[in-house]
Symmetry: C2
């Protein structure tokens, strides 16, 4: 009987090792990204897993169409004018596949020069552009950084259900479906489940999809996005959650610098320097913006997007920080599980984190006492029975706890300087878009 | 203005460091897991993030109810009879919270002695049992092991949409919902998207939820589960995918041994020894089982669960392997994107991986040529237009590629020796269960 030992087959030298093979013949595989014919030879750019390699082909060599996939036999030749310090002189080409047609969108220029609609309609092709794909390599780096930090802080990774019987965030912004004859919903957040798991592991996190049936059609809303959630028990105050997030962000910026330098350079990313993140209360923030920009306050319960931008401008001028924590949001604007600030039930021990003028995180301390939670639900005229299974954790004992959720795509977009979150979303879902 | 620096607050000595503080006073927090009254003193078990600590309380100390959350002031005292080599002598107790009621299910014995229905109805409590939660700590370890291996092999992590317009696996086993007036579905797998991303990054992976509207009510079916998916380009044959999976499994078993030793011991897990994984074709397997057990073959196109168990028994006897790859499944049983075996269109370059008699993985090579894919769809009388966006990747050039999907809960269950996959599912979803 045949058997496999799991020794990963070596199909030649990996791109990453080419440097140490200058002067030698190698085999490398990839896609023909771009051919530029010169006098007597061609420049051939080969797209590999993470790089685009410069190769030279003599005129006699027949070159396959762009986006063909190939295995090249080539000599590694020192070339000081190349970014890598060497280039590949192609000796032979084995063609593995050829496209049926050329893409209607040009993808091998520096920029993909088309509308965002086209960009997204042809996502499977436009992502092949060197800069476009670098966005999502960096997004991977952000996730790896977050995870690596949270694991170091003894958080446990969990996988919670997305099909649920009760929405955590309330309201009408929830997708419903028929689940074997009963009504089910798509989870708006892992809120209830991560809280339950605090009773089990004390500290938990999840990076996964969440669903919001919001009808907003803006540059910052998605109907499905990737939420980075953590929740921690035995906190003394909700500031510990903000400290944890600050630590996570600092760590991740350093992680990107260390492991994703090429993509940062390619996209010309200016990483924020995080020394300290300023903290301001919601009402202070409202007043600050009102005073500094001489704007009347029209809504004392929420920020307008414009106010968030002005707040950023103002905080940045005063402190140099591109982040700001806004705390103590009005109780009326926070969900039923939010803990009210001791001594002032009008506000909550909660926060948002704004980054470059955009809300990227919502967090706070949760009510852990059963009686207190039930009392607040009564006050809000909620049907307590609908939440019976959620409330069991309170009934049978919970530590003081809280946590936060961060929108991965929003954070990526702001980090890379995109105004539209769709540029940082692999396959966006919005009110008009369900494909590809 | 106030500011936070992200220096994680130190609230005393971490449990992991207690060993080096023998003879000293420490502060530790956790939940009162169990109190056992003795003559003149009590044994108090404190449940922390990952451990259960043995503590001693003098009779004069008033002890809060089980499942209260506390901060203990205690002296670390050498005690050779304790598993850790020391125990904690409690000097003071600060109570942070107390339960409203005692859990109706006893959770602090070695086993949670109740029906699986009760176990799941009270999931947020029963998971607090030391052994129950260890299952999901190990599940975390499996994910970390998989990721760590795949990153080392230059796979890129992706996040693909779960709201889709077309199902990848076909058939009626798909959840439908109204998406702003149009019909949407919940993704049965990330199949289409991971293939598209092979054209971008060559190697990609995702660990995320998938949804199957199957009406099966068995011990091995879930309607939502966590799928570990990878997809790789530039393969020479589909054996490379099996090699990669073998490597991943080997790596992960070692990873568990290294980082999750306590949970393995607690649950008495016998990890499989993976030297080589035998490979057998579907028809050979059918014949082998038929011959060895003198069973007539009734279905030449699929395995019955019983046959999978017998195949395992037989392979284990012959080779000592608890895994077996079964290859070349009939084309009729594989999806439209499966590559047919060169020279025999009746079968496909595909495989399942069986572990201890249960299918945990389905994988194979995919068609990469546009013409070949369209031709096969015509042969199957499919409406090609419905797949226009999927087919764009083929049209504009794709390398030979393939991949696999592994059911995280099934794998965990089999690894830990549970016959019912629900024991290894945090919050299971089945035809009867949508809560908690």
């Amino acid at each position: 009987m045949k058997a496999l030992s799991g020794n990963i087959m070596n199909r030649g030298i990996e791109i990453e090792e080419l440097e140490s093979h200058v002067g030698e013949m190698v085999k490398v595989h990839g896609s023909i990204y771009k051919v530029r014919k010169m006098k007597g030879f061609s420049f051939v750019l080969l797209r590999t897993k993470r790089e685009v390699m410069q190769c030279i082909a003599e005129e006699v060599l027949e070159l396959p169409a762009e986006e063909s996939t190939v295995i090249l036999t080539a000599k590694v030749v020192e070339e000081p004018r190349s970014k890598k310090g060497y280039e590949l002189h192609i000796q032979g080409i084995e063609v593995l596949s050829e496209p049926s047609e050329a893409s209607p969108i040009v993808i091998n220029q520096k920029l993909v020069d088309t509308s965002i609609e086209n960009m997204l309609d042809y996502r499977m092709v436009t992502l092949r552009n060197q800069k476009q794909r670098a966005i999502f390599k960096l997004q991977e780096g952000i996730c790896q950084g977050f995870r690596s930090f949270l694991q170091s802080q003894n958080f446990t990774e969990i996988h919670t259900p997305k099909l649920v019987q009760t929405g955590a965030e309330g309201g009408a912004n929830i997708f419903a479906l028929n689940y074997f004859g009963q009504q089910a919903y798509l989870a708006q957040s892992p809120q209830f489940y991560k809280q339950m798991m605090v009773g089990v592991f004390e500290r938990v996190y999840e990076i996964g999809p969440v669903f919001r049936a919001e009808k907003h059609d803006t540059s910052r809303h998605l109907n499905e996005y990737t939420s980075v959630d953590f929740e921690m028990g035995f906190i003394r105050s909700f500031e510990e959650i903000m400290e944890m997030e600050t630590g996570m962000l600092k760590y991740t910026m350093n992680y990107l610098k260390e492991y994703y330098g090429e993509e940062l350079a390619l996209l010309n990313v200016k990483l924020p320097v995080i020394e300290e993140i300023p903290v301001i209360t919601f009402y202070e923030a409202k007043e600050l913006v009102s005073k500094e920009y001489n704007r009347p306050i029209t809504d004392m319960e929420d920020f307008e997007p414009e106010e968030e931008k002005l707040l950023y401008e103002c905080i940045y001028k005063k402190t140099g920080s591109e982040f700001v924590f806004v705390t103590h949001y009005p109780s009326s604007k926070r969900p039923f599980y939010a803990m009210e600030t001791p001594g002032n039930a009008e506000v909550t021990d909660s926060f948002d984190l704004l980054f470059r003028g955009l809300e990227i995180t919502t967090g706070g301390q949760r009510i852990h006492s059963y009686e207190e939670q039930v009392e607040k639900m009564h006050r809000r005229e909620m049907t307590v029975e609908l939440f019976e299974s959620y409330l069991m954790m309170h009934k049978y004992g919970m530590p003081p706890h809280g946590g936060m959720g961060l929108g991965l795509e929003r954070f990526t977009a702001k980090l890379l300087g995109y105004e539209n979150v769709r540029y940082a979303t692999l396959f966006p879902r919005d009110i008009h878009r369900l494909t590809p």
